[in-house]
Amino acid sequence: MYDVAVIGGGPAGLAAAIEARRNGIQNILVIERDRELGGILQQCIHNGFGLHIFKEELTGPEYAERFVNELNELGIEYKLDSMVLEITKDKKVHYVNSKDGFVSIQAKSIILAMGCRERTRGAIGVAGTRPAGVFTAGTAQRYLNMEGYMVGKKIVILGSGDIGLIMARRLTLEGAEVKIVLERMPYPGGLTRNIVQCLNDYNIPLKVSHTISSIKGKDRVEGVTIVQLDESGRIIPGSEQFMECDTLILSVGLIPENELSEKLEMRLDKVTKGPYVNEAMETSVSGIFACGNVVHVHDIVDYVTEESRIAGRNAAKYAKGELKTEGRLVETVPGNGISYIVPHTIRVNNIENKVDLLMRVRQVFHDVRMIIKADGEKIREIKKSHLLPGEMERVSLDIKALTCKNIAKLEVEICEGEE
């Protein structure tokens, strides 16, 4: 019998487990499917992690190791190479590994921290043949950074998300020729500093409003057809251009991995593709919490850590019977220009001093106002010179904002132009 079982030993699971321990829980088990802890950070060898949490710039493995060390110092139990097959509503976890075999454990509370997976060629519908040489950016990153294999020599990258940009630089440093990075949206998907440091530094061209219509090649990729898109995302006839390459790398988005959540018949958000969560990061199944990229895809790992600490703290409370379930419920509503808000609901009684609303905007905005409304009434306005869908926005709300009136609905919206 465990007080808290954590599914996933990546940045979210590690932070959640550590936080649960710090909140007085002794009996914790972390179940990790890979051969080591740390999750995807172990292959993200570039720097830029930890500015928020540690106030210094770390690489992915360094960021992971700090948490792994802490986990070990705290003596938290974990299982590697172990796959969870099922979680039940009464909080049994069935997992397998080659050493312990088929194991069923009972937990008082469970934290889902399975992370996300990459969108594939099939998901974005690129036509053509199906040769070798088409990789998602994360898979290519694993081959290159951990296993030490080259995935190609002449490379086209589709998608300007951060992993794609980072891979453009890595492949260049390892001697490949990255011919171009394409982005179907009219603006780049990744952080500006990655555009500068990964593309501009190495003279790799980036074409926005461009995508690939078809892949050519019988055995190995021989080239791709690049097309330009109009404002509504349709292919501009006659814009087809063939580019020779032996490798296509896809960096076209991430999707939370919620197969276990789906089996639990948990309520999922259609936009984030992750669970509905409340202020405690608790899902619609009582006592099952979720944090990190399994809830919504984050832009930086520091925010994953913070969110996971909330989950860890509250899972501990739940296990101790201290989490309040009654009292007033506030619903968060994404208004104009906002695609989603996490958490989806807030139980006012559980808020100690503030609550962070995490959200993403639907499109690029310049010089706008972000307006927070309580039951239709404006309670706060934040001027924003710059909003990008690729970057997560955070708004901290003081508990007073929620308790002063009997608010039922918090809405965030973007207003263009002057007041």
Binding site: R33, D81, M83, L85, H94, V96, N97, S98, K99, D100, G101, F102, S104, R117, E118, T120, R121, G122, A123, G125, A127, G128, T129, R130, P131, A132, G133, T136, G138, T139, R142, Y143, L144, E147, G148, Y149, M150, V151, G152, K153, E174, S213, S214, K216, K218, D219, R220, D246, T247, E259, E262
Partner: protein, 478 residues
Amino acid sequence: MYDVVIVGAGIIGTFIARELSRYKLKIAVLDKLNDVACATTKANSAIIHCGYDAKPGTLKAKLNVLGNPMFDSICEELDVHFKRVGSLVLAFNDEEMNTLNELYQRGIQNGLKNIYVVEKEQLKSLEPNLSDSAAGALYAPDCGIIGPFELAVALAENAVENGVELLLNTEVSAIEKNDELFKVQTTAGVIKARYIINCAGVHADHINNMVSKEWFKITPRRGQYFVLDKSAGDLVSKVIFQCPTKMGKGVLVLPTVHGNILVGPDSEDIEDKQNLETTMERLEHVRTAAMKSIQNIPFDKSITSFTGLRASAEKGDFIIEESNDVKGLINVAGIESPGLSASPAIAQYVVQLIKEINGGFAEKEDFNPHRKKVMRFIELGDKEKAELIKNDPSYGRIICRCELITEGEIVDAIHRKAGAATLDGVKRRVRPGMGRCQGGFCSPRVMEILARELNKDILEIVKDSRASKILTGITKEQ
């Protein structure tokens, strides 16, 4: 010297090989590719039709109707997934209702008993997600779904266990007939045989023309499909057809034996027998056409799309006969739909034909119709899972997290007769990489296992065809 050489290791070639392995014969199956089931067999609708569609009196009709009931026992013997889920042919207007009635009559004429015309009112209870515009349907409860390449792999394995030699990477370049003997020139040397069974799919005309006169032509008819994730698996429970037109059976929506949804195919005659491209226009057509049957198909759950080539003969029927001018050459050509459904009957028909030509064959006493049982970890109960891992810990290591495939299953698929030697070969047999991440997480692990088990450098492991190298070198190469 072989008694029988079978050219082509698709579903037809492997089925015939397996049926012939009941007799005391020296048999070889040749394929120019590096695995079985790599052409038409790996890319089709995976349906076991009932047999109301083909014109009465044709081989297609006869062998389809004979073949369908044979699948239960053959799949039991070979431990292959097969499900009789039933099918509905939808009509959307009065004219199509008339076509349905014709289909029904044709089915009765072809000897079917278990088919029904159902009215609009009954449709929703049979298949809740059907479009409201469907006016009625032909319901055939005996229609089945199967994994075609899994069946071909199982047949090849069982054939090899019964003494058949499987010669992959063996492309036929010329055939001569001297006296009673064929001399087959291949990329792996000269092979001699008394009989040649031509099961070369879209290339069957090419093989025939090497030795016989050009009396049939095979046109590749391209069809494109979408595969949807298992989370969309409850979209339909039956095979949903649309009323047939001159160009084929229309676009289908159906479940697969593994719980995915398949949508397609379109139909397009093309020239190039190597052309396996999907095209945006055609896939868009498939998407639009399928929405006629089911309005809310979640195409955002599409995990891949693919193209298959049907081997279509001019005269419209299967060609299964000994060549007129070259005795001992048996052509099994033009095996388009319902070729898979007819395949067990085609194999028996061919065996009968060649027995008649030869004046019978002696039966083997030790023919074993069963294939060694395949351990499918995720299908086992909790206790069986625990037991299996205790006996072999590699079944406790999940390699493919989407399909929940263990290392034990992958190793087994590599070491079986007619085993996997490529990434896609493993994928076709035991499914790692078939799921929603399409191999993103597991392909490095599967490559590692392939390299280890086959004692190869990982750089030599290919995706599918011989030249489809995945990794191009190592980093920091000096």
